[in-house]
């Protein structure tokens, strides 16, 4: 399912955070949204997820305009993974993953066979099947991140929006997480992630959107977007884009005066 | 002759002058006895309760009298030559007034009919109206003696049921009033709570021959009076003899107690006549 946004403006607590924003993401692709802190990455994702009403502009999800998506229908095709990995109660991992089935369930019904299958599939896909009885609050950061990603997968979304899913994870966990995301995209899902680590974006993402001060500065393939000029203009750094053993790496060298 | 008249007048004047002329009463019960014994001009102030029909048996007689709220400074305003107090709630004020050398007389609460007589005597002595006091007591005793006696005492039972389910047990003036009217006080037969309340259920399970309600159903705007409006109590009142006897009549040891005994005894006679 395609996401198309055009001329989107949005404000947060009265301040305009997104200014005339254009954005496209395609099924089967992993799209990264990058930009310095406060550039508007989270706001962009929240606007596309329908959590923040835009002041102006159009957002199309699939072949329908945003306004034509009832909240309940949208929840069955669009999964959103917030940046904070909050789980307020010590629920077991399996119950947390099961929360992803809420949009597919009528209010009174228990877990259907379909629900059970989706939960089991999501858990084994994220390799958390062994944690199912553990309270989420007792899991490590990486384990918790995988459980929460499994929760979105159990939702069986056609679009997955993840806000900095790799934040706070160690390098091995970060790599594993992006491999999971790549696989999810390969299954036909439209995956959009906000990323801080430019090398991860360069290595795993099919296309990159660079945001600065609420506007899109550049969009395209990693090589097109991660140029020294763009990085200097947005992050204020001198950076090199290398390919080492076939793996692209963005190396920040110094902070520009 | 003229001298004799003069002497008599002087004595009378001296006696009158010896009587307290600016009397303050700080207790609902002494208020009522006082009003019945002395001329209004000698009463400097009574409590606000004296004119409150919710608690006073003779509110109309207290209308127009000055009111004191009972704190020492307020009392001193009237420069009283006698302060009548009851046993409740004013001990700090009483101590202060005594230290200021005010003439303070404490009138104990009446726990029974003898107590009623004692209260009246105490007030009468303090205000210098002994003779009038004895006359009132004699009238009180005459009324009590005229009340018809039961064939056998304590065969007919009664219960005084109040707001919040409180009942009047032994040692209260209400109990003495019931017994003087020839009743057995049913309160002794229930397992009362420590607060002296009878559960409505006990009342329904073993009802007294006469149910005495101390106030009307609509009288109190309080959630506590819900027990008086309870359907079970209404049903009980339809099936048993009941009467509303204002608690003002037996709240204080005043001559009005005789009136309460008369009303109760009449109800007893009616019950005895019915069961015969």
């Amino acid at each position: 399912m395609r996401i198309e946004a055009e001329g989107v403006r949005a404000r947060l607590a009265g301040r305009e955070v997104l200014k005339s924003f254009a954005f496209t993401a395609h099924p089967g692709q992993l799209t990264a949204v990058i930009g310095p802190n406060g550039a508007g990455k989270s706001t962009l994702l929240r606007t596309i997820a329908g959590l923040l009403a835009p002041d102006a502009g159009t957002i199309r999800i699939g072949d329908r305009d945003f306004a034509q998506w009832p909240r309940a229908d949208l929840a069955r095709v669009l999964g959103y993974l917030p940046q904070d990995r909050i789980v307020h109660w010590p629920l077991s991992a399996r119950i947390v993953v099961g929360l992803g089935r809420l949009p597919h369930r009528s209010s009174a019904a228990g877990e259907s066979r379909e629900d059970t299958a989706a939960i089991d599939a999501a858990m084994s896909s994220m390799q958390v099947a062994g944690l199912e009885d553990r309270p989420v609050t007792s899991l490590s950061g990486g384990e918790r991140a995988r459980v929460l990603l499994a929760r979105v997968l159990a939702q069986q979304p056609r679009i997955l929006l993840a806000d900095e899913p790799a934040a706070g994870l160690d390098p091995a966990q970060q790599l594993a997480l992006f491999q999971h995301l790549t696989r999810i995209a390969a299954d036909g899902c439209t995956v959009v992630v906000a990323v801080h680590d430019l090398s991860l974006a360069a290595r795993f993402c099919h296309s990159i959107v660079l945001v600065h001060k609420g506007a899109v500065v550049a969009a395209g393939s990693p090589a097109e977007v991660l140029t020294p000029a763009h990085l200097a203009a947005t992050y204020g750094i001198e950076a090199r884009y290398h390919v080492i053993d076939g793996v692209p790496v963005v190396l920040p060298v110094s902070v520009l005066p | 002759m003229a001298l004799g008249t003069f002497l008599a007048l002087t004595v009378a004047y001296a006696q009158d002058a010896a009587k307290p002329q600016r009397i303050v009463s700080l207790d609902l019960c002494t208020d009522q006895i006082l009003i019945g014994l002395v001329e209004r001009r000698r009463i400097a102030a009574v409590t606000h309760l004296a004119a409150d029909s919710a608690v006073s048996a003779t509110p109309e007689r207290a209308k127009g009298l000055p009111i004191t709220h009972g704190v020492a400074e307020d009392v001193l305003r009237y420069d009283p030559d006698l302060v009548l107090v009851g046993p409740f709630g004013v001990s700090a004020t009483v101590d202060l007034l005594k230290r200021l050398n005010k003439n303070v007389v404490l009138v104990p609460q009446a726990p029974d009919l003898d107590g009623v007589r004692a209260s009246m005597r105490a007030v009468a002595a303090a205000v210098g109206e002994k003779d009038k006091g004895e006359a009132v007591i004699a009238d009180f005793d005459r009324r009590l003696a005229a009340v018809p006696k039961p064939a056998r005492a304590g065969t007919v039972s009664a219960l005084i049921y109040q707001v919040g389910g409180t009942v009047s047990g032994p040692g209260s003036l209400a109990d003495a009033t019931l017994r003087a009217a020839g009743f057995h006080n049913m309160a002794m037969d229930y397992r009362l709570t420590r607060g002296g309340q009878a559960p409505l259920e006990s009342l329904v399970a073993r009802p007294p021959d006469l149910l005495v309600l101390s106030s009307g159903i609509g009288e109190y705007r309080t959630a506590l009076a819900d027990n008086l409006r309870h359907p079970a109590l209404q049903a009980l009142r339809r099936s048993r003899v009941s009467l509303e006897l204002p608690w003002q009549l037996w709240l204080c040891g005043t001559p009005e107690v005789a009136g309460a005994v008369e009303v109760l005894a009449a109800a007893r006679v009616a019950i005895e006549a019915r069961s015969r």
Binding site: G50, S92, V96, P103 | T193, E201, A205, P207, T222, A223
Partner: protein, 331 residues
């Protein structure tokens, strides 16, 4: 049931069934106990009167008030994601008591039969609004509890003021009635007044289970799962106001049930806030019914009001909760 059964120990349907049976048994037990002896009351007309007019209303109100308090506590804790929330603690009960006191003392309850529960509701709604606007819906635990304490204190002060000004000779005893609720000698009249409102409130509160489950993951995630947060907020505020407000208007304030019951039962449902709702409703009803039975058995040797008993059990529990929370907060 697959692995989910491992942490609930019992499938939800069985757990609810068992709890419903326990609640029903407590209800019957409550009908059997009274000062005139064990059983369904003495024979004859007096027995009929005792059963239908005295014991039945007491048992029904005990069950309904307990259900309202337990369920409202679970809903508030789930919505605020805070185990310290409770209708009494956040001022709803105090507001309801104040509303009822005003309805009685201004004489409204004599003019209009429904004035008492409606007054209770209005008071509860006003208190809830005051707390929410003081603390803000997103306010943290401490802000919320402080706001609740402030509003409760204001309500208590206004109740004593109202009783004082009314020159009611029973003001001090009635104050105790409102602050330490009681089920003693309540009548079917009061049941008919309060029950419909309590039932509507319970239904509203039971409807937010899915939303509370989703809210475990935070507000954004909940909305992305299709939860309408403003509808949820409305259902919880209105449901609590109706259920607890109506119950308090006829029983006075019964504290700590809403705090204690969800807390004790939460592990039984694997901490799931949605499933905790019906479980706490049944648990609250059972708790209050059993406490009331114990109270009647102990009387007159021990003279306690139901509100005092729940406070006696609840207050030390609250202290323990505070200590444990402190332990969690300090590393």
């Amino acid at each position: 049931m697959t692995a989910a059964g491992a942490d609930t120990r019992m499938p939800p349907s069985m757990l609810l069934g068992v709890l419903a049976a326990v609640t029903a048994a407590s209800f019957v037990l409550s009908l059997l106990v009274g000062p005139s002896g064990f059983g369904f009351g003495p024979a004859g007309e007096a027995g009929t009167l005792i059963f239908w007019e005295i014991r039945l209303p007491r048992a029904v109100l005990g069950a309904l008030a307990g259900a309202a308090l337990g369920l409202a506590g679970a809903a508030l804790q789930g919505y605020l994601r805070n185990p310290l929330a409770e209708p009494g603690l956040i001022g709803v009960s105090g507001g309801a008591a104040l509303g009822a006191v005003l309805a009685i003392h201004l004489g409204l309850s004599q003019a209009v039969a429904l004035a008492l529960p409606v007054g209770g509701l209005a008071g509860a709604a006003a208190a809830m609004l005051a707390v929410v606007s003081l603390a803000g819906m997103q306010g943290g635990a401490v802000t919320l509890i402080l706001a609740g304490l402030a509003v409760s204190a204001i309500c208590t002060a206004l109740i004593s003021l109202a009783l004082n000004l009314s020159q009611n000779p029973f003001a001090s005893v009635e104050m105790v009635f409102w602050l330490m609720g009681s089920l003693a000698d309540r009548s079917l009249t009061q049941v008919w007044l309060a029950a419909p409102l309590i039932l509507v409130g319970l239904a509203l509160l039971l409807s937010v289970g899915r939303a509370l489950d989703a809210l475990t993951l935070g507000e954004d995630a909940a909305r992305s799962l299709g939860v309408d947060l403003s509808r949820t907020r409305l259902a919880i505020v209105a449901g609590t106001t109706l259920a607890v407000g109506a119950a308090t208007a006829v029983t006075g304030v019964i504290g700590f049930v809403g705090l204690l019951v969800p807390h004790v039962l939460r592990p039984l449902v694997g901490h799931r806030p949605g499933l905790l709702l019906p479980v706490s409703m049944l648990g609250g009803a059972t708790f209050l019914l059993i406490a009331d039975v114990g109270l009647r058995l102990a009387q007159p040797a021990v003279e306690l009001r139901i509100g005092v008993l729940t406070a006696l059990i609840g207050a030390p529990f609250f202290v323990w909760l505070v200590l444990r929370t402190r332990g969690e907060l300090t590393p």
